[in-house]
Symmetry: C2
Subunit: 415 residues, 2 copies
């Protein structure tokens, strides 16, 4: 196989059906932003959304905007937009609260549907907040048991038994990018009578997600990564229609009431997805998210997935061809069909290398102990960006500049 | 006593030490906005905050803003600003999530400190979400009991016994504006070994709140009413330092971890107030709130309370003097020392009357079955606004225009 050249990358850009979408984002010159799996960039249209929400709606119309501007139903109108990206129907998704809180609702809701079962099965290498929330459920219901893949023996599938109420699992692993088979895991859980809560934080927006086709029960996800909703934009929660009647969750605030403005003293849950709402939602942050979600309305997710696989394949191949001999190891699946839109490279000095890259305006992130994580968001990353990122990484490695003391100091960053 | 004249109102404005603050808000000409107890108006400085957060921080600096722009610590830096308004110390308040969710945390946390006790005492006339959340706690821990003032006999104080884990009580009633004695209720609860969760939604920002001087345990409140944080701005939660070591709450997400970025699989709670955090917070909405809170930095809360009492006294006196004979009854305490900054008037056709007022740009709100609710936020309401509001109400009542069919149709509004 002939080694790739820069012209191969530009040829891929020339043929890219998604190429025009990049112009809809704020991306400063020179930046190669491979951290959209942590915080997506600002859609240019978010400025107009926020300006309208601030000036006309809050500033001028004030309280009347809850109805007039649709503030009160943003949980649902944005939820429907998310539903279209994850294989759900209208009325199966609301946007609200945070991923962590939605995991809590989903776990408690699943436990409420399986009252005789006390085991939660999860991944030992799950994103930590998933485990922390499961531990929080357990701490206040001590007969609940937590069984973890990688700690308690066997694969996730092998840990599911007749005592399992719910399986909490990430579709794409936050570090390695490993992709789970949603239909297979769900079928395995259902065969044991268990439910599944899918965490879509690292899959929503970079591939077609097939919740209903996979017979999924519950799902959660964040909107500030590949959905480009802005820093800390509210999360989403999905509950399949077949469960909505019976299911209940303990964060039963007034927004989840059947008639919130009746001000009844007794809680009477909404019969549909709104029973997963709790309190008043942050409208400005929701409006930025609206802009992010609207960008997807002209986008074919099959094309997104195809480009995602091309981008990550190109990156891996270029790393192999051009960055050998420096102790870097691939920590993601080699087969594009088995991974999300990120590539993890392991190196003992990964932190310093990522800092040196950042100094050259190539932004990825680092996950302890040794993972350099690069996200490739197909809506705005060009194949030429991949080429250039690898060239800069090669230069960083060959020059040894990452050994400079300025890159050694660790600081906290947010995923 | 001589009847008041318009010049009495303008004389009060001339002497008002807070008069200059109104110019810091967006308030369109002609509007008399007596609904700041539902949604405060936009501080003009919020526009610059949002512009900076959108353009420089999200748009240009992207992921680095979590540290560089202080995004990650806004929960604490804004919490400290709230602390200064409610008689708490730095490190006792964080801004996060919603009031409803924070009530859930606070109730569960209080129950965790009183493991042998199973009773939650609350007000039968509490803001509904407080009751709904208590019912949610109970639904998932069926040995918990809910005892309600007004339903289960006796006053709130009389319902507190040796079986009581926690009392959930509003400092200011959302309908009547009735003010509770924080020190007395807290002392009564402590005498029985119970804890108190104070809901400050209708008191924070309109009077000095003395949490620590009252030996309060826990408190929650919203920021979009008198704190002018914007629609759905995140809420706050207070926990007294003396409880922070032992207390725990089940929404144990990664932001509440001692070292969030260690990505440990095991939850290890922050030893301080950050253990009440859960997931990633909506930064744009927090930044608008920052502007709202900064407006209070030059404000003396004693002066705010004094003006608040004057405003509501003036309103009540003018209603009595100028709106008699139309069946309106005062549904708030007559003594200003016994009420917050709102006045409730009862009328069987209150909904239509409020709609007719809104058509004349006098904005208050309605609470079923018959409460017309008027909030008087001392930072931007003028005594002349009070005079004019009453004159318009008088005209609406005398003309009978509220009987017009256009005002009869009910629509949902958000408190």
């Amino acid at each position: 196989m002939t080694a790739l050249a820069q012209t191969d990358a530009t040829a891929l850009d020339d043929a890219d059906p998604l190429a025009g979408i990049r112009d809809l984002f704020v991306l400063r010159d020179g930046l190669i932003y491979l951290d959209g799996n942590s915080l997506g960039p600002a859609p240019k249209s978010a400025f107009a959304e926020i300006e309208q929400a601030m000036r006309e709606e809050w500033g001028h119309d004030l309280i009347t905007s809850w109805n007039k501007a649709g503030w009160f139903m943003l949980t649902d109108t944005l939820g429907d937009k998310v539903a279209g990206l994850i294989g759900a129907e209208s009325g199966e998704v609301v946007v609200c609260d945070t991923t962590s809180i939605n995991i809590y609702k989903a776990l408690q809701a699943a436990l409420s549907l399986r009252p005789g079962r006390k085991v939660i099965v999860a991944e030992g290498g799950s994103f930590p907040t998933d485990l922390y929330i499961a531990q929080g459920v357990q701490a206040f219901a001590p007969d609940t048991k937590l069984r973890l893949e990688g700690r308690d023996g066997g694969t996730l599938e092998e840990l599911i038994g007749d005592d399992t109420a719910v399986v909490l699992v990430n579709q794409v692993d936050y570090r390695s990018g490993r992709l789970r088979d949603m239909a297979a895991v769900t079928a395995r859980a259902h065969a044991s009578g268990a439910l599944v809560v899918w965490d879509l934080c690292h899959s929503a927006g970079i591939m077609p997600v097939a919740l209903n086709a996979s017979k999924a029960d519950l799902a959660v996800g964040c909107t500030y990564k590949y959905l480009n909703g802005g820093p800390g934009a509210p999360a989403f929660i999905f509950c399949a229609k077949r469960h909505q009647g019976e299911i209940r969750q303990p964060l039963s605030g007034w927004w989840g009431h059947r008639v919130p403005f009746a001000f009844d003293p007794g809680f009477d849950a909404d019969p549909g997805i709104r029973k997963f709402l709790c309190g008043t939602q942050p409208i400005l942050s929701l409006r930025a998210l609206k802009a992010g979600l609207e960008l997807f309305e002209t986008v074919d997710l099959d094309a997104v997935r195809a480009k995602s696989m091309q981008l990550t394949d190109l990156f891996i191949r270029l790393i192999v061809e051009r960055c050998g001999g420096h102790g870097i190891e691939l920590a993601s699946p080699r087969d594009a069909a088995m991974r999300g839109s990120q590539v993890a490279l392991a190196h003992p000095d990964g932190y310093a290398i990522m800092q040196a890259l950042a100094a050259r305006d190539v932004i990825g992130d680092f996950r302890a102990p040794d993972i350099m994580r690069f996200g490739f968001a197909p809506l705005y990353i060009r194949f030429l960006d991949v080429w250039n990122a690898v060239e800069i990484l090669r230069d960083v490695l060959e020059s040894g500049v990452w050994r400079d003391a300025q890159f050694a100091q660790r600081a906290a960053t947010v995923t």
